[in-house]
């Protein structure tokens, strides 16, 4: 698993690549929380374009970040999830809290409160 961050205004974009499981989700959690604090971010986007595998550990990790962001009054979204990852997100009901978008642009519009058409 590799992780890279970009930032736009108050939004932290976590570009994750590789596999998200119990083993890698601990490191993800730690690094994302630290990066969010460093930029005083309010929103998070999980960019899944390069994620090759995710199990329920990824769901738990994202719900944890969502709860944190909620207390800051921000928003969380997912971008570019593969069909299988999208299945897991739908199954868990996570999509109701963190919508997933086919494009990063749409996810950004959502977290910044500029709802796309």
């Amino acid at each position: 698993m590799e992780l890279r961050f970009t930032k736009r205004n108050q939004t932290l974009i976590a570009h994750i690549s590789g596999e998200i499981d119990h083993h890698t989700s601990g490191e993800l959690r730690l690094k994302i929380d630290r990066a969010l604090e460093q930029i005083s971010g309010k929103n998070i986007i999980f960019c899944f374009r390069e994620v090759t595998f995710m199990d329920s550990s990824g769901i738990g990790m994202m719900i944890g970040r969502y709860k944190q962001i909620q207390s800051l009054g921000g928003r969380v979204a997912i971008a570019c999830a593969s069909p299988k990852v999208a299945d897991i997100i739908a199954l868990s009901g996570l999509g109701r809290l963190l919508p997933d978008y086919d494009e990063l642009k749409a996810a950004l519009a959502y977290v910044e409160g500029r709802e796309a058409e």
């Binding site: 119990h22 595998f53 769901i59 990790m61 944890g64 199954l91």
Partner: protein
């Protein structure tokens, strides 16, 4: 009756071995030329069961996890077993969103994912002795 092909591996209950377990199962079943979707289903189900053995079965104590893979024609059989603490109430454990470890940011979706991505799932567990999860799936014809 023995299935036409089978493989069994035992490994230390540490999180590093989760990706090993997925690769072991994916490698073994690749002999059946599954679709990418089918192999992802299998890897995800194995990952869920193995992670449960490590997190819940052994709760960071030492132990070994067993992974058994077999097939007969297009039918895939998987078993994941631990000799950990066992499950008191299996019906409750299988409910979507039920987790005994919310403080570890678990979502309670593991069993639901196994049930959805495989065709059949059965759980045998004895408190103090351990847990064995059985899963089956029929692959599409080549």
């Amino acid at each position: 009756m023995r299935p036409e092909n089978e493989a069994r591996v035992f490994f230390t209950a540490v999180s590093e071995n989760e990706s090993f377990a997925r690769l072991f199962a994916a490698g073994f079943f690749s002999q059946l030329d599954p679709t990418v979707s089918e192999i992802t289903d299998i890897k995800t189900a194995v990952s869920e069961a193995v992670t449960n053995a490590i997190i819940h079965g052994y709760e960071r104590r030492e132990g070994m996890v067993e992974l058994y893979c077999a097939y007969q024609e297009r039918k895939v059989y998987i078993e994941v077993a631990d000799q950990g603490r066992g499950i008191e109430d299996v019906a409750q454990a299988r409910e979507p969103l039920y987790t005994s470890k919310p403080e570890l940011e678990r979502s309670g979706m593991g069993f639901t994912i196994m049930e959805t991505f495989m065709e059949n799932m059965r759980v045998e567990s004895v408190v103090g002795e351990g847990t064995r999860v059985y899963m089956e799936k029929t692959l599409s014809e080549e």
